[in-house]
């Protein structure tokens, strides 16, 4: 069986390909024209062996759809008996007379991409504006199965485009445990550019808080700005627990990071806030692995886990602002900065409780995300 994964949104396909290859399946990864640089495999591994089974293809950009020949697409995918895909790719498959055996939508690819929208026409491919959405809708209708995370809005979009393929929901696995999981990640610490800074925080702090939310790429909604209020929380926790060294690590890419630094300066705690530059995911996970508590915003649900999954996967205590106390995920849901301060106080007072929660989170991740995700993928592929 030869499997081609075309598209690598959120690095999910790269994880899936590594898993299948470990099982002995001949799986390859194709990066296409609209995959963002941060979804290149090299952002998710320190090992260059991905090059043996990864190719960049020159097609995939909706704006250039009509300039791509069917032959080019067929030539790329010749010899594969199973195509797994996402994003704009079903349109190109339809154009080439191919069909995907499995569609793993990430959301906007079925909600927004098939809609006709006015975009700037490209020279030599102006008709793409009309031809692409139509081809994508046709391509979606031709897929054999739809899998992955299928929240209600994705299901509704599939219904709207009359996608009749059977749906097999299963989680997408975000992390390749063998390299970046909690038992392996220390082996790549020596390859990190920023470990010395993170390690310095680790050595002087009893509790390291980590916040790595980022503004959604290419999405119109206003991101949740959590970073400045985290600085207030940090100040409050440090005041309430003067004998405990608590520090905060955030990324420059976090919404409101600049305001957070200003706030830290105002409060006189700037030296307790480490601001990391924009980093590839592999570096981000190293910083997270060195931390104790991961803090993000979201619903705390399986359908929309946000950054909580990274924390659970790395076996950390996870606090999610905006999530209910009885959230679906094993996280601590808080509704206000005061509640977050309180939760952190409880964590400091009873580290065993935090440790137990982290272990529970990791076990949940292994069972409900990693194992269930791989099992679902294997079943969808008939393995």
């Amino acid at each position: 069986m030869r499997v081609a994964f075309v598209g690598n949104m959120n690095q999910h396909a790269f994880v899936a390909v590594r898993h299948l290859r470990k099982l002995g399946v001949d799986a390859d990864l194709f990066i296409h024209g609209t995959d963002l640089p941060e979804f290149h495999p090299s952002y998710d591994t320190f090992d260059r062996s991905y090059m043996q089974y990864t190719q960049n293809v020159g097609w995939g950009d909706p704006a250039l759809f009509s300039a791509v020949s069917a032959h080019t697409v067929r030539e790329t995918l010749a010899g594969y008996d199973t195509i797994v895909t996402e994003g704009p790719v079903p349109a190109f498959l339809h154009h080439a007379g191919l069909r995907a055996q499995l569609l793993l939508p990430y959301g906007d690819d079925v909600r927004e991409l098939p809609k006709m929208r006015f975009r700037r026409p490209r020279r030599g491919a102006a008709s793409s504006l009309v031809l692409f959405p139509s081809a994508l809708r046709s391509g979606l209708r031709e897929v054999s199965q739809v899998g992955g995370v299928l929240p209600a809005d994705v299901g509704a979009a599939l219904d709207a485009w009359e996608v009749g393929a059977p749906r097999r929901p299963f989680p997408r696995v975000p992390i390749w445990d063998a390299e970046l999981g909690p038992d392996a990640i220390e082996l790549v610490f020596r390859r990190s550019a920023w470990l010395p800074e993170i390690d310095a925080v680790r050595r002087r702090a009893d509790v390291v808080l980590f916040h790595h939310s980022a503004a959604p790429v290419g999405r119109p909604e206003t991101p949740v700005v959590l970073a400045p209020s985290l600085v207030d929380v940090l100040a409050a926790v440090r005041r309430a627990h003067a004998d405990v060294a608590v520090e905060l690590v955030i990324l420059e890419t976090a919404p409101g990071a600049d305001l957070a630094l200003e706030r830290a300066e105002e409060l006189g705690i700037k030296e307790h806030v480490l601001m990391l530059p924009p980093v590839p995911r592999k570096e981000l996970l190293i910083a997270l692995a060195v931390s104790d508590v991961v803090i993000g915003a979201g619903e705390g649900s399986l359908a929309s886990p946000g950054i909580a999954l990274d924390g659970l996967a790395l076996g950390k205590t996870v606090i999610v602002s905006g999530a209910p106390e009885d959230a679906e995920l094993p996280i601590l849901g808080v509704g206000s900065p005061e509640a977050m301060t309180r939760r952190l106080g409880e964590y400091i007072a009873d580290r065993a409780l935090g440790k137990a929660l982290a272990q529970k989170g990791r076990a949940f991740y292994e069972r409900e995300i990693r194992d269930a995700g791989f099992r679902g993928l294997e079943a969808a592929l008939g393995l």
Binding site: P41, R48, M51, R190, A193, W194, L195, D258, L276, P277
Partner: protein
């Protein structure tokens, strides 16, 4: 003196800011909105000290020019008595009613941005399509000084725009020489994502050729974009075949539209085992790889005297395998190179390296000395002079 550099295209101003701070000038950096991530300072350093003197502006995209409030521009710029800019900075300062002190063009900011070109309007800022190029033109015209190396095309455009400022033609250092040099780079080996791989390649090869240009030789491209990568691959293959006792390694990046044709050519020539591919990486990582190589490649399609790969090679004191038509450049602007124009030239140069490595190592050191005195030291002197006006 406080001086602000606005826009970090190619990470060049970040390099200048660091050099100036080293000579005691309080230089700051302002990144503009919309700058590509790989021009973030962190892609060009292994330390976070840049955060103390770097800010990000919430404006800077030409397409949104008309939606930016002048007060928001002034808020970030008004505290600096001297402002150096590139990219769209002239237009935004014009909008704020401020005069740019020094414009140092990187290319398209002078050649394209000041001229109207049909482009799709952005909602809420439709008039930017017309107003931005006009403001860019006015901003460049009113700048007090126009910097950057002498380039015939630039001089013509400055004249066309009617630039009133004094022309101060001196090159700026695109590489931060005080970190990225042959003596200091090993301090960063322990912080590199790819050092382990480069080290293994070093240990298993006698002669390493480092080629970090984009692959553009087969697909349709403008002549100035072509790199002539195929010449290198063919010449390298001949050297491998002619010297079976020498372990040759060629390091390349997965970068550019013709990576796959290059790989195909490598397979056809049977040199896969001699070629090591790497992903596109931060420039700081490239210096680690270059430091462990013997020869660094420039370009092989058309003649250039300056450019990213060229300066990165000589900054690390490596002999540069490169095509340069010396008749095109004044003598004082030239530094020694392994001057090659065909695959046969490349084969001969690599073969000669095998025989005379010390000669070429000395060439690399000589080129570095030129870089240090002609680019780095000279530009610092010139900046200090201009800032004192």
């Amino acid at each position: 003196m406080r001086v602000l550099f606005v826009c970090n295209m190619n990470n060049h101003f970040f390099s200048v800011v660091r050099h100036l701070r080293d000579v005691g000038i309080e230089a700051h950096l302002l990144r503009l909105k919309g700058e590509p991530l790989h021009f973030h300072p962190s892609y060009d350093t292994f330390d976070l000290s840049y955060q103390a003197y770097t800010k990000a502006a919430p404006w800077g995209e030409p397409a949104l020019y008309s939606a930016v409030a002048p007060a928001d521009i002034r808020r970030l710029l008004s505290r600096f008595p001297f402002i150096v800019g590139c990219g769209p900075t002239p237009a935004f300062m014009e909008a704020a009613g401020m005069r740019l002190d020094m414009f140092i063009p990187h290319g398209s900011d002078l050649a394209e941005m000041p001229f109207f070109r049909p482009s799709s309007p952005t909602r809420g800022a439709v008039s930017s399509v017309v107003r931005f190029p006009m403001a860019q033109r006015r901003g460049i015209r009113h700048a007090r000084f126009n910097g950057g190396a002498y380039t015939p095309q630039f001089e013509e455009t400055f004249a066309q725009i009617g630039a009133e400022g004094k022309r101060e033609a001196f090159p700026i250092p695109p590489v931060y020489a005080n970190d990225f040099n042959a003596d200091r780079i090993d301090a960063f080996y322990g912080r590199s994502n790819w050092y382990e791989d480069f080290r293994k390649i070093r240990e298993s090869n006698d002669v390493i050729v480092f080629h970090h240009s984009r692959h553009i030789w087969k697909s349709r491209a403008t002549p100035i974009s072509k790199k002539g990568n195929d010449k290198l691959i063919r010449g390298f293959a001949k050297a491998v075949a002619a010297h079976p006792d020498v372990r040759f390694g060629l390091v390349m990046l997965e970068y550019g539209p013709d990576v796959e044709p290059s790989m195909q050519l490598i397979r056809e020539l049977g040199i896969e085992k001699n070629v090591y591919s790497f992903p596109l990486m931060a420039r700081r990582e490239l210096f680690v790889g270059i430091s462990l190589a013997d020869i660094v490649c420039g370009e092989f399609a058309i003649s250039w005297n300056f450019g990213g790969t060229i300066i990165e090679g000589i900054a690390m004191a490596k002999p540069l395998l490169h095509y340069r038509d010396d008749s095109m450049y004044p003598e004082e602007e030239r530094f020694p190179v392994m001057n090659v124009n065909t695959d046969e030239d490349i084969f001969r140069a690599l073969s000669d390296y095998v025989v005379r490595p010390k000669h070429y190592q000395a060439m690399g050191r000589e080129a570095h000395a030129w870089f240090k005195s002609y680019i780095v030291d000279r530009s610092m002197r010139e900046f200090e002079r201009v800032l004192s006006y």
